[in-house]
């Protein structure tokens, strides 16, 4: 079902238009074709839009506008399209979309991007309409042949039926009869009650090839004549290559070429081992540049000073200043560290550059940007840059960047053969685009067990300002304030402001959970502190302020009930709650943790209640929440990138640790049935786990953790009742 060949060589926009032109009256999302031309054309493929192709043999090809990086989006998108098309799901073939913003841009971002947990949210209606429009055309074609009213026909599993006369026709047989028909602009959509596929836990289409070794990731690309390269960029960010002594490296068997660029050195070999040996044999002197003395201490000093400045107001309700001046002012500050993505598939990119063409094999979350960066470097026009988007061995935001493509294309400019550039793990960890450090200062006043005044100052890097400049308006980073400006609690006087502070030396980027990771950690930890101050149970305290958020109240009640909130626990064990409305989903999470006398933490159980609107594939949603929770636990328990003399100190999985399977808690995810539009889910668990765990540790030990990763020394030797 999963057509890897097609994925490797998706159609270019040109071939698409050609295929479309062969179809009577076809439209390609904005590309309306002259009808005379269409009427004369022979119809061999039914392609009513950029997402669907049906040939006369009955092969239904669905074009995937979003990239598959483990989140199951290929299957989910296919389910949405096939639902409205009424195709037989076990016969659909998937194909990765080529780079083409005009056809495949994410409706939210207006470029081809897979991120921010928004694939289903952004494409839910457009894809349903694409499927429904195609189905309507097939019904119309058969109704014409049978000379019946289209309204008397129905469809099921790739066939049109006219029950009154007992006739039926396969979609394949109707392809040639679609010529001259015009797709409806606003086709009727199925009612949710009539969904056959949506809501079912269908098996993912990408799993079989992942368990038999046939799946092709970026790192598996092997174009004929490929050479192998690995690289070292200046270990200090912003530094340059000084001098390279390659006398030893050049003499190693299999080493073909040493490529010295302004900011990096690469070794090209007949195979990867030669390239790696060659790199190790080089003696490189770096010109370290202005960041050569920067350490983590400098980073934190700068961030803490910045957090004392006034920020740009992101939201203001009532009179926060007035409310905060009456009664006891409760204040706390929370801090999050730099994090690397550490995708299991290290950064890599394969490039074949000739005088008039550039072919790229890569896994990217931003396909059109991948193409654009190669065009910029080579000076070739976009249509000369072919990008084969292969499956991704972990994205998490890392592959929203194109630095690996930039470097590979620049190396390829020096190499007279296709070259596959694979970073070592060490290079991958030390030249990431890091989740920024953040500092959150919160203050509040209480009255009658409720919050009456609230101030939240967020200080940190603006990723949006670099990554999507048009979205950075009036000093506000919409990602950095996400889930803080729209805090769900009913607070009469509040103020949220943002201080942009770019850390020295370190490039910053999106990381699974993005802005909400920081804000939900700070808010939900502080809510717990306020509940204790108010002398109230943390669940009851929150619940009393959710009058305007009934969906959140419902998941809170469900999570508390399922987790046995309030049931006694043995000493040294505690439960913690965290709520969030991030990514359009409503989630309550209860963590149960145990802390031993050495300060070691065992997460025993996590219960999440989730309202994410209509669920396309429940199994995928549960897997994404579970995975996100584990990703978040890893960050809370271990994640920190530090720098010394401008260099990242971590290098591989021994010093940048992951939660292991023997440490994985029991995880329960409870889905609330809903008819609301789908929410985002891939990042939610990552946001949920750290505050829930921190609050559980407070319940177990009485130690409040205001910084991640969790410092075990604060917990060691702690006597608890």
């Amino acid at each position: 079902m999963f057509d890897a060949t097609a994925t490797r060589a998706g159609p270019t926009r040109r071939t698409f238009l050609k295929a479309g032109a062969a179809v009577g009256g076809a439209f390609l999302l904005g590309f309306h074709l002259p009808s005379a031309m269409a009427a004369n054309a022979e119809t061999t493929v039914f392609a009513p839009n950029a997402f669907i192709r049906i040939d006369r043999q009955g092969k239904v090809t669905l074009i995937m506008p979003q990239v598959e990086m483990g989140q199951g989006i290929y299957t989910t998108v296919a389910m949405i399209l096939a639902e409205e098309l009424d195709a037989a799901f076990d016969q659909v073939v998937l194909e990765a979309a080529p780079p083409n913003d005009a056809l495949y841009a994410n409706p939210t971002f207006r470029i081809q991007v897979t991120g921010n947990s928004n694939s289903v949210r952004a494409f839910w209606l457009p894809l349903r309409k694409a499927g429904a429009a195609a189905r309507a055309l097939l019904v119309e074609a058969s109704a014409r042949i049978w000379q019946v009213d289209p309204a008397t026909c129905r469809t099921d599993s790739g066939e049109v039926f006219h029950d009154a006369s007992g006739r039926k026709a396969s979609y394949a047989a109707l392809v040639e009869h679609t010529a001259g028909l015009t797709a409806p602009a606003d086709p009727p959509l199925k009612s949710t009650a009539n969904f056959k596929l949506i809501g079912q836990s269908l098996k993912r289409l990408d799993t079989p090839d992942k368990v038999n070794g046939k799946v092709i990731y970026g790192i598996d690309a092997m174009p004929p004549g490929v050479t192998f390269a690995t690289l070292a960029a200046c270990p200090v960010f912003g530094g340059k290559v000084g001098h390279v002594d390659d006398s030893k490296a050049k003499s190693l068997p299999g080493v073909r070429q040493i490529v010295v660029l302004d900011d990096l050195v690469a070794v090209v070999g007949d195979h990867m081992w030669a390239a790696r040996q060659g790199l190790e044999a080089l003696k490189i002197t770096w010109v370290e540049g202005p960041n050569a003395a920067v350490s983590s201490d400098d980073v934190w000093k700068q961030l803490r000073a910045a957090s004392e400045k006034e920020g740009v107001t992101a939201r203001s309700v009532g009179d926060a200043t007035g409310a905060l001046s009456k009664g006891e002012l409760i204040e706390a500050a929370y801090e999050l560290p730099f994090l690397a993505h550490a995708t299991m598939e290290p950064m890599n990119c394969t490039v074949h550059l000739t005088a008039d063409s550039c072919e790229i094999w890569v896994g990217s979350q931003v396909l059109s940007r991948a193409q654009a960066v190669a065009a910029k470097i080579t000076g070739l026009p976009l249509e000369k840059i072919t990008v084969h988007n292969l499956l991704i061995g972990g994205g998490f935001g890392r592959r929203l960047e194109v630095d690996h493509i930039d470097k590979a294309v620049r190396i390829a400019q020096q190499v007279a053969a296709p070259v596959k550039v694979v970073w070592t793990r060490e290079e991958d960890i030390r030249h990431d685009v890091y989740r920024p450090v953040y500092r959150d200062r919160l203050s509040a006043t209480l009255s009658g067990g409720r919050i009456v005044g609230w101030k939240h100052r967020i200080t940190g890097s603006s990723i949006i300002a670099r990554w999507l400049p048009p979205a950075f308006q009036k000093g506000i980073d919409i990602d950095a304030i996400d889930s803080a400006a729209d805090i769900p609690y009913d607070i009469p006087n509040l103020s949220v402001d943002y201080v942009r502070d770019e850390p020295p030396a370190m490039p910053t980027g999106f990381w699974r959970g993005v802005g909400p990771n920081n804000n939900v950690f700070a808010i939900e930890s502080f809510m717990d502190e306020l509940a204790r101050k108010a002398g109230k149970d943390p669940v009851a305290f929150r619940r009393d302020m959710l009058g305007k958020a009934p969906r959140l109240q419902a998941v809170l009640d469900l999570a508390a009930a399922k987790a046995g909130w309030g049931n006694p626990l043995p000493p040294r064990m505690g439960r913690g709650i965290a709520l969030q409305t991030s990514f359009g989903s409503y989630i309550a999470t209860v963590a149960e943790a145990e802390v031993d006398e050495a300060g070691e933490i065992r997460v025993r159980r996590i219960v999440s209640a989730v309202d994410t609107g209509i669920v396309v594939n429940p199994d995928t949603v549960v897997a994404q929440v579970q995975g996100g929770l584990i990703f978040g636990l890893t960050a809370a328990l271990y994640g920190e990138i530090t720098i010394d003399r401008g260099r990242v100190q971590q290098s591989n999985f021994h010093d940048y640790r992951m939660l292991r399977i023997d440490q994985t808690p029991a995880i329960e995810v409870h889905l609330i049935k809903s008819g609301e539009a789908p929410g985002g889910i891939g990042e939610t668990g990552t946001t949920a786990a750290p505050p829930a765990l921190g609050n559980a540790i407070f319940a177990a030990t009485g130690v409040r953790l205001r910084r991640l990763p969790i410092d075990r020394s604060l917990l060691a030797g702690r006597k608890v009742g």
Binding site: G70, T207, N212, G213, K214, Y217, M272, W273, E345, I661
Partner: protein, 168 residues
């Protein structure tokens, strides 16, 4: 200096000329175009490169080709037959135990070697056996269930019975 080795991989014999220190992983991926084993860390820390050598799980990124020569090497591609999946692979499909799927090679190969040794493991034994294989997506819950299911499937295969959908 380069030497020629006889390498037995998935039942086929290959003559490989390479530096004896070359990690087996690069020979499998670059020379034999076997993409099942993955490069993850290069230090034997993540397990993505796991293969079987004489039935034992081994980290191909740190085993030199000289150490694998003359011994039977099995990769993910050689685990099932030409037409069928190995029960461990089937169990990973049944339990949907792959997200990005990059770690799955190592998980399946490690589980296969483990279940050959311990046919009826406890949950704790499975967790212990797989603790040195890293998964970044967080598929741990499904992977654990897949190995439990694989143990049942292997049991039934040993008994000569075709499992029904429900039994799986």
């Amino acid at each position: 200096m380069e030497r020629t080795f006889e390498l037995r991989v998935n039942g086929r014999i290959h003559a490989i000329t390479a530096d004896p220190a070359t990690p087996l992983l690069y020979i499998l991926r670059n020379d034999l175009a076997l993409n099942g084993p993955k490069f993850g860390c290069g230090l034997g820390e993540c397990g993505a490169c796991t293969v079987l050598i004489e039935g034992m799980a081994a980290r191909a990124c740190v085993i030199p080709v000289s150490g694998a020569a003359g011994r039977e090497v099995t990769t993910l591609e050689g685990l099932g037959g030409a037409r069928s999946l190995h029960p461990v692979q089937q169990a990973f499909i049944d339990e949907q135990a792959a997200q990005c799927g990059y770690c799955v090679n190592g998980m399946i190969m490690t589980a296969k070697a483990f279940l050959d040794r311990i046919a009826h493991p406890s949950e704790a034994q499975i967790r212990d056996a797989l603790r040195y294989n890293l998964c970044r997506c967080g598929t741990h819950v499904e992977i654990l269930r897949a190995v439990q299911r694989a143990a049942r499937l292997l049991d039934m295969a040993d008994a000569g019975a075709e499992p029904t959908e429900a039994e799986r």
